[in-house]
Each structure stands twice: as structure tokens, then as C-alpha cells.
Amino acid sequence: MSTNPLLQVEDLSVSFHTRMGKVAVLDQVNLDIGKGETLAVVGESGSGKSVSAFAALGILDAAGCVDHGRVLFEGRNLLTLPKAELRSLRGKDLAMIFQNPRTALNPIRTAGQQIEDVLACHADLPRRALKEAAIEQLAQVKITDPARRYHAYPFEMSGGMCQRVMIAVALACKPRLLIADEPTTGLDVTTQMVIMDLIKELAQAQGMATWLITHDLGLAADYADRIAVMHAGQVLETAPGRVIFKAARHPYTRRLLGATPRKQGSLEDLVPIPGSLPDLRQPQPPCRFSQRCDRCIDACNTTALTLQNIGVNHQLACRNPL
């Protein structure tokens, strides 16, 4: 638990209505992010990282529904907030950048226009000042020749450039929390680092908290204060990056570490995680990792799973930890 929480996700359960019936995707997700803190949420593809963030912002698909839980932003529950109030928070205090920068920007509006749209919506600026502010915003994300890029359409820019514009859109109103959903997938390695450094630098300069979503533990360790490990819609372990790497207690965290390339060490050392994510359309045991786990005991399949404090900033949900 951070001592000064900005955002608290409490027991969040989300399900989707599909043709094959109701799918319980998130199961009692608990996360918290302190002011100015960076929390990385790590997990395999399909573990519910994006869904948690979408649910928190109230931008789930129509098929999704929150069954249970609260999302407190400075004490206010975002899930029960009137629509208009939530809308005035989104983009202003809470902003989000997305997995695929090319499709996340409106293809027929220029970079500048899309920044202006957000500014016009939240900032109290006269019309004339909008353009200037948008260009300044482009300069802030280190786009060269911002006055010219102001007129550029997404299809005229590279993926990395689109992600910078996306960041400029998200940070236009200096939000207090940025949700970055895999901001570097689809970008080449050098661009990845540049973008991550940019986010970190801007976050530090503005005292902004970051909810970083990634499947890359190495990236999480480099950029986050704390790491939360998710599996099949459950948070299994939360701890500072150091602790995750040195003293992880959850078998899944260990497996994930074993599958993450290290700076020293060769590719042969990597061990894939056995099995695959469980089919969430079927009823699940309390611990959704139990079928893939070699330390599974009877209690795993009978008693409810809760996230317990087991040390300073260290939380764990496991019946038979390491």
C-alpha cells in the first residue's frame, strides 16, 4: 500500500456478455497508485491488464460490465460518478495512451487539431491561444519542427511519431494520472526506449503518477516504482521492482521471471511458462493459476483467494508461497 494513494482499485470484478455466455474476466482486482508513483501492471496477453484500465476510466465496450468493486480517485468513486463529472475528469486529471498509436489517433484530423480538441474541452483558453498551446505541447514531447507537424495527419507520421502525438494529446491538460497501455508495443527497440524515457521525464516534471501496462518485466523493472503481477484477471503479487526480482514469493511471478530475458544471461536460460491462460468461460477455482502451478495444494482449490500484506509494500495472493 502506498501511503498517499491517488487511485485505488478495490475488489474490481468485470465480466463480458458474449455469444457463449457471460465471461468473468476480472476477479477482485486490487491496485493502488500513489501520487507521482509509477505502477507497472505485468502479465501475459489476455490477463486483463487493459480491461482493468478501461473499467477504471469507464470506457469498457458495451458488452463489458462491472459486477463489483470501487475505483477511488482521490476518494471519489469513478464507477458511480455522474457521467458529466467523469467526463470532466477524463482527459483532464486522468489520461490514457494506447497500445497502437496508429489506430488510436483520428485518421482524418491533424495532430494539432486533436490536441486542440482536448484543450478546448478542458482548458479555459481563448480560441486564438489554442493553436499556440497545441504547438507548445508538440514541442514538449520533443517533436522537431512542431509548427509544421501541427498540420500533419497520422498517416504522414511514423509509429513513434504517432505515439509522441498521442502522449501530447494525453498530457495536454497536465493530468495527475497517466494510464499507459503498452505504449511501446509495435515500436522498434530504440524508439521504445526513447518513448519510455519521454514518459518518465514528463511524469517527473509534472509530478504525474503513471499506471504502466506492459507484458515486459524488464521494462517494468526499469521504469516502475512498484510492479503488480496479473494472471487471468487476478492480481497475484505486488511489490517494488527490486523485491520482485530478488524475493518474489508467488510461483507465477517466479515463472514470469524465468521467462524474461536478463541483461546478463543467454536465451537458453529462458523457461516458458507451462500451460496457457485458463478458459474464463468455464467456472474457475479460487486461484486461477492453480491448474498451471506445480505447488498447488488442496487449499488452492477450496479457500477464497485474497491479497495479503506480507511485508513493506509487498502483497501476495497465494496459499502455498515460495
Binding site: F54, L57, I59, D61, A62, R87, S88, L89, R90, G91, K92, A95, M96, F98, N100, T103, A104, L105, N106, P107, I108, R109, T110, D117, V118, C121, H122, Y153, F155, E156, M166, V169, A170
Partner: protein
């Protein structure tokens, strides 16, 4: 920007020349393959074979096909579409006289369809399974099933014969009124220019039933395309971005979603308009509308070559202009096209 548009226009016009030539050739041949002998028709039922032959020579129909085609082409190059055997008038003059009637009708039909179809499609997409969604589905299926001339006849039966709300389906204007002075040829516009509201209203009421007949046909593809396109756009990533940025519902729906969704709808509009020009032929017949469609139909029945050839050529040119304007509108809406053009 300007020069790229001019280039686009020039490229399209030059690119269309081969297909225009093909249209001219094929219509020419089809007219001569179809049964029917204009010389016999022209000479009258009581004419002797010698008289028919005389007429044939006079009309130049005794010459070989290539020679006739060459004559036709050289006339065309001088802007001469030939003369109608039946009316004795130059075809070009008659087409120019009658085209505004057809265009006014088709345009109003399309306008009605757009005014109903787009909002219906938007409502259906934003409120799935609502009343609007079901209405959209019902209208689009029935609109496709009913043949236009049948809808036209039903409308006449109900609104003219049974209810007496609509004026008699006999052309563009009540017999007791005089047509406005010709400026554009569109009665609605010309009457307004002349400041004659009575004629405006009279021609509007005459237009309404045939236009609704056309509109009902055009409604289905427009509403369906709007709905499908908007549904696709609403599920896209940039709409999620816009929502996550806290933009208002109207901004998200109109500035972000609808503008993107309109791109394929504009293409559909062009396509539907060209269908309407074709369907006009039947609707004009039903409503005794003095347009180019009924003109061509009568000429076809009389094996009167020149008007039919002129009509098909005029339609081909219209399609060409229509496609060109659709492309121009698209480049205005979609920056990706402009830069690639």
C-alpha cells in the same frame, strides 16, 4: 492543393475517353441489332416496299454499318447528336430541354432519401435494438423488395385516387399554370428566382410523389451503409481515445465518428444517384414526367436511333461527372486521398 485537384479532374476525364467510346459503339450496335425498322416506322403502316426503301435511302440507312458509324462519329465531333425521326427535332435540343426535369426529380429523390436515411442510420447505430434500429431494418428490407414503378402506382392510388391529397400525376406542373421563365430549367429554382411562390408550391407538390417513389428506393442502401459504417467506426480505437480524453458525446459522435463514417456513405450516395437516373425511365413513365427517360423510352419503342444513342451518351457523361464529384468530395473529406492523389 488546387493543382492536385485539377490534375485529378484532367486524369479522370482523359481516363474516361476509352469507356465513352465503348459506350458510343455499343449503343450504336445494339440499336441496329434490336428488331424494328425505322424506315418502315417512318414511312407509315400503309407504305409500299418502294416507299420504305426510299425513306431508308433518305435516312442514310442503306449504307454499310461502318460508314454509318463514321458519319455518326463525325457528327458527334461537331456536337450534333442527330435528329429524331419521330419529332423531327435535333436530339441535343430535346435532351437539353428535358434533362432538368429528370435531374430535378432524381436530386429531390436523393435529397429526401438522405434526409431520412442518414439520421435513421445514425440512430440505428447509436441505439442498437431500439425502435429506430428495427425501423431501419424494416425499411431497408421493404425498400429493396418493392419495385419502384409498383411503389409509384400504390402512391398514386392512395394519395391521389383514394385520399385526393396529391395532384394528378400528369407532369411537372398543373395545366392551368405556366412554367416559370427558363433559367436553370429546374422549376423549383426558376420559380423562386421569378418570385412566383404559387408555381413553386405547385411544382413542388407535383414533384413530391415521384420523388418519394425514388427516395424510398434510395433510402435502403443509404440507411444501411450509414448504420454499418458508423457501427464500425464507433468500435474503433480512436473513438476510445476520444472518449478517454473526455470529449463531449456530441464531439465524439459528430466530429470524430460521423465524419469518418461518412466516407463510404458518400460513395454509396453517388452509386444510388446513378441508379436513380436509370430508374427514372420507369418512374417518369408512371408519372407522365417530361424527362429524358420517358423520351428515350418512346424513342426505343419507335426504333428511333438518334434519341436513344443521345440519351445513353448523356447518361454516360452524367455518370462520369457524378463519379468525379464523388471523388472530389472524398478528397475534401479524407486527407489520405488528397495526399496520395
Amino acid at each position: 492543393m488546387h493543382s492536385s485537384k485539377l490534375q485529378l479532374i484532367a486524369r479522370r476525364l482523359i481516363g474516361a475517353l476509352p469507356s465513352l467510346f465503348a459506350v458510343i459503339l455499343v449503343t450504336f450496335l445494339i440499336m441496329r441489332i434490336l428488331p424494328g425498322d425505322p424506315a418502315a416506322f417512318f414511312a407509315g403502316a400503309a407504305a409500299t416496299p418502294e416507299a420504305v426503301e426510299e425513306v431508308r435511302v433518305k435516312l442514310g440507312l442503306d449504307r454499310s454499318l461502318p460508314a454509318q458509324f463514321w458519319d455518326y462519329l463525325t457528327d458527334l465531333a461537331q456536337g450534333d447528336l442527330g435528329q429524331s425521326f419521330t419529332t423531327g427535332q435535333p436530339v441535343l435540343q430535346e435532351l437539353v430541354d428535358r434533362l432538368p426535369a429528370s435531374l430535378e426529380l432524381s436530386a429531390l429523390g436523393l435529397l429526401l432519401a438522405v434526409m431520412v436515411g442518414l439520421p435513421l442510420g445514425v440512430l440505428a447505430a447509436t441505439r442498437p435494438n431500439s425502435f429506430a434500429d428495427h425501423a431501419c431494418r424494416l425499411l431497408t428490407t421493404t425498400g429493396v423488395c418493392l419495385p419502384t414503378f409498383f411503389t409509384g402506382l400504390v402512391l398514386i392510388y392512395v394519395f391521389y385516387y383514394l385520399l385526393g391529397w396529391a395532384p394528378a400525376p400528369l407532369g411537372r406542373l398543373d395545366l392551368f399554370l405556366t412554367a416559370p421563365e427558363r433559367i436553370t430549367g429546374f422549376y423549383l429554382i426558376d420559380s423562386l428566382l421569378a418570385g412566383d411562390l404559387e408555381v413553386f408550391w405547385a411544382s413542388f407538390t407535383q414533384l413530391l410523389m415521384p420523388a418519394i417513389t425514388l427516395g424510398l428506393f434510395a433510402l435502403a442502401p443509404l440507411a444501411r451503409m450509414t448504420r454499418a459504417s458508423l457501427l464500425g467506426v464507433l468500435g474503433s480505437d480512436y473513438i476510445r481515445t476520444a472518449t478517454a480524453s473526455g470529449l463531449s458525446r456530441t464531439t465524439v459522435l459528430y466530429r470524430y465518428a460521423l465524419r469518418n463514417a461518412l466516407l463510404p456513405v458518400v460513395n454509396t450516395m453517388g452509386m444510388v444517384f446513378s441508379y436513380l437516373l436509370g430508374i427514372n425511365v420507369l418512374v417518369e413513365k408512371v408519372f407522365a414526367w417530361p424527362g429524358v427517360g420517358s423520351y428515350a423510352l418512346e424513342a426505343l419503342i419507335a426504333s428511333d436511333y438518334a434519341p436513344v444513342q443521345g440519351f445513353v451518351l448523356a447518361m454516360a457523361l452524367l455518370y462520369l461527372l457524378l463519379n468525379l464529384s464523388v471523388d472530389l468530395v472524398n478528397t475534401l473529406l479524407d486527407p489520405r486521398l488528397e495526399k496520395n492523389a
